[in-house]
């Protein structure tokens, strides 16, 4: 087990460079005129253009640009954004609130999805099962571009239960509404996968054995069956956690949260290579750690799975 973890940690380093390379390459492919992007629709004078081109090595070839970036990264200098801000500072400003938001969202999503998933699996084809299916469909059919502003309109502007917007310094309660909206985007899949997995396991031999031993149905379902059904669900949660962090662009925009998704979107629109790669680097590290934890959980949930 220990050797497995060490090996995974070593793989992380390679993956990290792979990911920064891919994203840097994509940003390079997308680079048209970041200097004009900086100035909006107003003209940029030739001198400003020349100086900025040199400052950000924009006329260099891809390997040279990547080299400059990696040289900075390895010496702990994440560089400056096109707007001249220190990227290290931007990261430390944006990550805490995004971590809070996505952690809250994933807890909300997992709680609802797993509970409802198990219930609808037990009563397969029943009223509860069909209404959760309907709810899932509703969530699927209303994309987040619609859900987020509608939630804001109803719960913040009309009912006034929640603040309409938050800031980087938001507390848990302020983040609840955006977190629930975000949770809705991943809940559907988690719920359906839980249901399917539980349905399969309910028919397994060990369930019959456990029942025969005289265990209460509740204990059989919520301990034995659920534990054995969780592997695909936890896998999915691991993937979703990452997607929530980078994919919260719309939610962060609607609720005015200056987090990772917002910064990524801004960087992509402004063709700001160093900014985007900086954010993605941290993102990839988070993915790698989360996926390692998920893989270790497989072994924890199913003793038959061994890593050596």
């Amino acid at each position: 087990m220990f050797r497995y973890i060490v090996r995974r940690l070593l793989q992380m380093i390679l993956t990290f460079f792979g990911a920064t390379f891919v994203v840097f390459a994509l940003m390079f492919a997308n680079q048209d005129d970041p200097i004009q992007a900086l100035a909006g629709e107003k003209p940029v004078s030739d001198n400003v253009r020349a100086v900025l081109t040199e400052r950000y090595h924009l006329d260099e070839s891809f390997p040279v640009q990547y080299w400059y970036y990696m040289k900075g990264l390895l010496t702990g200098d994440l560089g400056r954004s096109m707007a001249g801000r220190d990227i290290g500072e931007m990261l430390s400003g944006a990550w805490p609130v995004t971590l809070k938001l996505s952690a809250l969202a994933i807890v909300v999503a997992a709680l609802i999805a797993i509970t409802a998933g198990v219930w609808s699996a037990i009563r397969r084809g029943g009223f509860f099962d069909n209404s959760t299916l309907l709810m899932t469909l509703l969530l699927l059919a209303v994309p987040i571009v619609v859900l987020a502003p509608v939630a804001q309109l109803v719960f913040a502007m009309e009912l006034r239960w929640f603040p309409a917007t938050t800031t980087a310094r938001a507390g848990l309660y302020d983040l609840l509404l955006p977190a629930v909206v975000l949770a809705c985007s991943v809940m559907a899949t988690q719920l359906r996968v839980t249901r399917t997995s539980v349905v399969e396991n309910l028919r397994a031999d060990y369930v019959r054995t456990a029942r025969a031993k005289g265990l209460t149905p509740r204990r059989v379902t919520w301990v034995h069956v659920l534990r054995n059904s969780l592997i695909p669900v936890i896998t999915l949660i691991g993937v979703d956690l990452g997607m929530l962090m980078s994919g919260a662009i719309i939610v962060e925009e609607v609720f005015n949260i200056p987090g990772v998704g917002f910064n990524l979107a801004r960087g992509i629109r402004a063709e700001d290579g160093p900014l985007v790669v900086g954010f993605v680097s941290v993102l990839v590290v988070v993915f790698l750690v989360v996926n390692l934890v998920v893989d270790l959980l497989y072994a924890a949930l199913d003793p038959r799975i061994r890593y050596e």
Binding site: Q11, T15, G18, A19, V22, V23, L26, M27, N30, L133, T136, L137, L138, L140, A141, V142, P143, V145, V146, P149, V150, L153, A188, T189, R192, V193, R195, T196, S197, E200, R203, A204, I231, P232, I234, T235, L236, V239, D240, G242, M243, S246, G247, I249, I250, L264, A265, I268, V276, V280, L283, V284, F287, L288, N291, Y298, D302, R304, I305, R306
Partner: protein, 288 residues
């Protein structure tokens, strides 16, 4: 389950399906949706591209069943004509993601070791690529003016959404691989191909199918998000996603242009989920 059955798994499944009402209902619905995508003019005589501001936000009438949108376009006609691009994006991107996810997930789970390490880390790298970035790059590089961008959007969604399916497939294969019946079959002398396709795949595909059927829905809806972010379909394309992204802005004045494409989207996903469920149940050896 025994390997000496006279009928094949597929034959069994077909017998099952023939008597399944849900299968027939969802099948007919899917056929209808496909027909709408191929020959939209069967369903409406109105031209979806003709819009007059004079009709802006007008309610339903006998000529326009769902009323008119902000641009004065016939909502029903646009929803019917939007089926094609939406389905194209949804089905093709899901197909691409499904194939990639299935292959990568099975290979990583079954072989383990170096193959797993390489494929899993590749998955991690893909997870790190922001969807918006890929969409911007692909739509910027692949679409020329006057083109609708269906190819770029499909490719973006297909290439970026297989990761969840792959990881779920991998986890299911890892679980199935360590089950007793696999060990038993191996001891009985089953070759690797037989082990994988006869024993591991049927027992691990359930979660994968669920993820994929839902992915179809999220990908159709994701096109709306991409359109909203300015990296979706363009030109004179008509799609549910574009309709939703546009109508969202005016939902407080006129809800109908937002509601109807959403309903069509929901019904489509429902049909595919039911169909997927029925087919999976029929093929699942454990439910026999």
């Amino acid at each position: 389950m025994s390997d000496t059955r006279s009928r094949s798994l597929a034959g069994d499944a077909w017998t099952d399906l023939r008597h399944n009402k849900i299968f027939w209902a969802s099948g007919v619905l899917v056929a209808l949706i496909l027909l709408m995508a191929v020959v939209p003019s069967l369903f409406t005589s109105a031209d979806p591209a003709v819009c007059t501001l004079a009709n802006q936000n007008q309610g339903p009438s006998s000529t326009a069943w769902f009323g008119y949108d902000f641009q004065g376009c016939d909502v029903f006609a646009r929803t019917v004509y939007g089926t094609r691009d939406s389905l194209e994006v949804g089905l093709l991107s899901t197909l691409l993601a499904g194939v990639l996810g299935l292959i990568v997930g099975m290979a990583a789970g079954w072989f383990g070791g170096v193959v797993d390490a390489v494929l899993s880390r590749l998955t991690d790298i893909m997870l790190g690529v922001p969807l918006l970035l890929a969409a911007v790059v692909f739509s910027g590089r692949l679409s020329s003016p006057f083109e609708d961008g269906v190819f770029a959007v499909t490719l973006t969604l297909g290439l970026l959404t297989w990761t969840a399916a792959a990881r779920v497939m991998r986890s299911a294969v890892i679980t199935a691989k360590s089950q007793d019946y696999v060990a038993a079959a191996r001891m009985l002398g089953a070759g690797p191909a037989r082990l994988v396709f006869r024993h591991v795949l049927p027992n691990s595909i359930a979660s994968f199918i669920v993820v994929i059927t839902i992915l179809l829905g999220t990908n159709i809806a994701a096109e709306a998000t991409l359109s909203y972010l300015g990296a979706g379909l363009g030109g004179d394309a008509i799609s549910w996603g574009l309709q939703i992204a546009e109508a969202r802005n005016y939902a407080r004045i006129a809800a109908s242009p937002l509601v109807w494409p959403s309903v069509f989207l929901a019904v489509t996903v429902l049909a595919f989920i039911m169909l997927g469920d029925a087919i999976r149940d029929a093929f699942d050896p454990k439910l026999r």
